[in-house]
């Protein structure tokens, strides 16, 4: 039996208030008033699809060992690198390299489901496969996309042991129906008329594909208990369900009111949402539309209730901070030529040879543990840091990203350049041993305190814009 064995999700903490966006733009685009409701997730300045996918993957692997993963498929339409294996960065951050195949899947909003199909098939022979999907799409100022999109990620571990949602079947069609596109020379999507997309696209492509999928699974529409189908047109999923005999009650909420559409990740984000409350015997259909359609059907098993707790979508959704400052959203997305000052001018060139030598330290937050005195330390070095030990060549690699840690001292620095001033940083002490001066993220005044418990999170440290946007990643501390 092949299927999903674990799930995880990630949603940035900030939630952009749509009314605030509309209020800023209504002079120009009064027609957006109908969308000025609720909020959308908004990546912090130091988050992109890789960092969000890493967090969703860590959430997913709460119950499983990263080193058992044999394949990573990373789906996105906003991979930070065009040529550099984005999925490989996730692997390094999870401290898996050996016996690992890493693959990026993109180019369509159904990249998430395509990755999931590939992942399920790859894991049939007993090779656990991690499927991560994340998107952080740009949208033009005063566009409907700006209000509709959200940033987020999901991760699913596929395998054959302790399957919580067994794959019943899948079906795909591919046709070059261009409802929207994003060319190589643009940061933004360009879309055609919605009515045409609905009548000539969804209505003519999706129902026959669903029917074929149901037939292959020997099911009828009424068997489906959860119907997942992302769409920027909220009526469309209901319409499609109706056309194939799936009950309206089965159609899952699009999460538009609180999260927004997370692009290539959204079908999987909605699947995680559904799995969180699913019961054994539920039959979940996942449909993703994008130059064709992918359809997957799962049946939830009794193993689902045995899956250890994790944050999941609901947990990350509950960690929320409302953001009413639309200017901040624009600045974070480099949509505003803000005066960063001379302190932002320092060259951010990365020595790739150093990054390679120290990749476990920088991407994996791997420190050392002294074999002689047992001291955990970061970074790992050739001489133990313990003043009463100083043993040489005594340290084994020791992964520290998941260790409990807290604030020893900190400051809010108004002088240092930060895209979100003041810059918070401080000495992070790991309960097991080891410490280092770390940047903080997702932090507010009165939230960070001496002794406060923190959690290490994988983030962008710098963006080398002089060299085409080489993102430097490292770990930061965030309040628990």
């Amino acid at each position: 039996m092949v299927g999903i064995v674990a799930y995880g999700a990630y949603v940035p903490r900030l939630r952009l208030n749509r009314q605030a966006v509309y209020d800023a733009n209504k002079w120009f685009a009064a027609g957006l008033r109908g969308l000025a409701k609720g909020e959308r997730s908004m990546a912090n300045w130091d988050e992109d699809s890789i960092t969000m996918a890493v967090e969703a993957s860590r959430d997913c692997l709460t119950s499983h060992k990263a080193e058992d993963v044999r394949n990573i498929y990373f789906a996105s339409t906003t991979h930070p690198f065009k040529d550099r294996q984005n999925a490989g960065v996730i692997g390094t951050a999870l401290n898996v390299e050996q016996n690992l195949s890493a693959t990026d899947i993109g180019g369509s909003l159904k990249a998430g489901t395509s990755a999931l199909i590939a992942g399920l098939n790859a894991s049939r022979e007993g090779a656990p496969t991690l499927v991560a999907a994340a998107d952080k799409r740009m949208a033009r100022v005063a566009s409907s996309n700006e209000l509709n999109y959200g940033d987020g990620a999901a991760a699913l571990l596929c395998g054959t042991e302790n399957v919580i949602a067994k794959l019943v079947g899948h079906h795909s069609v591919s046709m070059d129906f261009v409802d929207h596109f994003r060319g190589d020379e643009s940061d933004f999507d360009y879309g055609w008329e919605e009515r045409w997309i609905r009548d000539e696209g969804y209505s003519k492509i999706v129902p026959p594909a669903i029917k074929a999928a149901l037939a292959a699974c020997k099911l009828t529409g009424t068997d489906i208990t959860q119907f997942i189908m992302p769409s920027l047109m909220p009526a469309v999923p209901k319409q499609m369900a109706k056309m194939v005999g799936i009950g309206e009650g089965a159609v899952r909420d699009l999460l538009g009111a609180t999260l927004g559409d997370t692009g290539a990740a959204h079908a999987l984000v909605m699947l995680v949402d559904a799995l969180e409350s699913a019961k054994a015997g539920d039959k979940i259909m996942v449909v993703a539309f994008g130059q064709g359609v992918d359809i997957l059907v799962f049946e939830v098993t009794a193993e689902k209730d045995k899956l250890p707790a994790r944050k999941g979508l609901s947990g990350w959704m509950a960690r929320r901070k409302e953001e009413k400052n639309y200017m901040k959203f624009l600045a974070f997305n480099e949509m505003l030529p803000i005066d960063k000052g001379m302190r932002a001018e320092f060259d951010k060139k990365t020595a790739l040879s150093v990054l390679w030598r120290k990749r476990d330290m920088i991407y994996g937050l791997v420190g050392g543990k002294c074999k002689v005195c047992g001291t955990v330390q970061f970074p790992r070095s050739q001489v133990c840091v313990n003043p009463n030990c100083h043993a040489m060549d005594s340290q084994d690699p020791y992964a520290m990203a998941g260790l409990e840690c807290s604030v020893m001292s900190f400051t809010a620095d108004s002088l240092v350049y930060s895209p979100d001033p003041p810059g918070y940083y401080g000495m992070i002490t790991f309960t097991e041993g080891g410490r280092f001066m770390a940047d903080f993220t997702d932090s507010d005044k009165d939230q960070v305190k001496v002794g406060a418990k923190m959690r290490m999170t994988f983030r962008i440290r710098d963006n080398d814009q002089m060299r085409g946007g080489f993102k430097r990643y490292f770990w930061k501390a965030a309040p628990v």
């Binding site: 400051t411 620095d413 002088l415 401080g426 940047d439």
Partner: protein
Amino acid sequence: MARGIKDKVAILGMGCSKFGERWDSGAEELMLEAYKECLKDAGIDQNQLQAAWFSTAIDEVHVGKSGIPLSTTLRLPNIPVTHVENMCASGTEAFRGACYAVASGAADFALALGVEKLKDTGYGGLPGGRGGPLQVLWNASGTAPGNFAQLATAYMTAHGVSGEDLKKAIGHVSWKSHQNGAKNPKAHLQKAVEMETILNAPMIASPLGLFDCCGVSDGAAAAIVTTPEIAKALGKKDIVSVKALQLSVSNGSESGHNSWDGSYFHTTRIASKRAYEEAGIKSPRDEVSMFEVHDCFSVTELVTMEDLHISETGKGWKDVLDGFYDADGKIPCQIDGGLKCFGHPIGASGLRMLYEMYLQLQGKAGPRQLKDPRIGMTHNLGGAPRENISSVAIVGRYE
């Protein structure tokens, strides 16, 4: 412990430029300004110099590397010139090099000169963006105020000092230095500041406000050293000799091992102990007449006075509030105005501090002159509380 260099080296002459935003001068002009005064004070000919040590810390924004800038600017007689950099301890390092040359007998006359020209960067604060290719991948993106602000939070936590009490104490540190600096024509800032202004100043890195931070300025200072015997032979009176020079450098235990609580300078405790031993000082609180310590931030000075074993650990803030370190207190600290009023041209600061000690010990400090000082101690702290170089120098009357 080794025998040390107590009384083996005498300061023959010193010079110090006017500190400040010296838009009129480059590093070269500042060097000459300090050097001319120094050479005249020493009363020797330039050709008698046999070795020189030259300190700068952020040379990439002014003179660049090597000993050549000193040699060419001064047209030195092709003597050895060693360029030293050890962050904020650089000036003291130059002095140490010159003193060791004389103490060893390798040179009869050695020059130490430190300079920093920081005000050609286009912005306030210290130039940033330094660090090797690994450091920039993981070191927190901090500034000096942010790093030293954490000393304040850790100090409060370790000793149960309230934010209000600490703010008052570090405010007094700055208030006292401004009172002193107002009497010093070479200081960058020469105005006394009201306590209320200090306490209500804008925050730079909490809990440090504007007046808790020293300024950034340009300046240079220099010393020519020789042996006490040669100084005497040259007819010098009121000879000032070197009693101790010590340095302690972090080895990573504070920044990487959980035994340090962030509330003190591990290295300063070590360096000062070694210095007292070298100088033969048994009870520093009774024997040291005055201090110039590294008040890059007000809280640094407060904590340093504990780590120099003058105030009891955790009680330094009370001594400060009692006026113990004021100009009319038991042991005046920063009698020249400190980094607070001079700013911190990094390579020059250590020598600038010694300059004030030298003037005071000779009774030449004008309106700032203390009554009968015998022992003066300077201290520099380079780096951050978690990883630093602490340098200590003790000078006194040669008796």
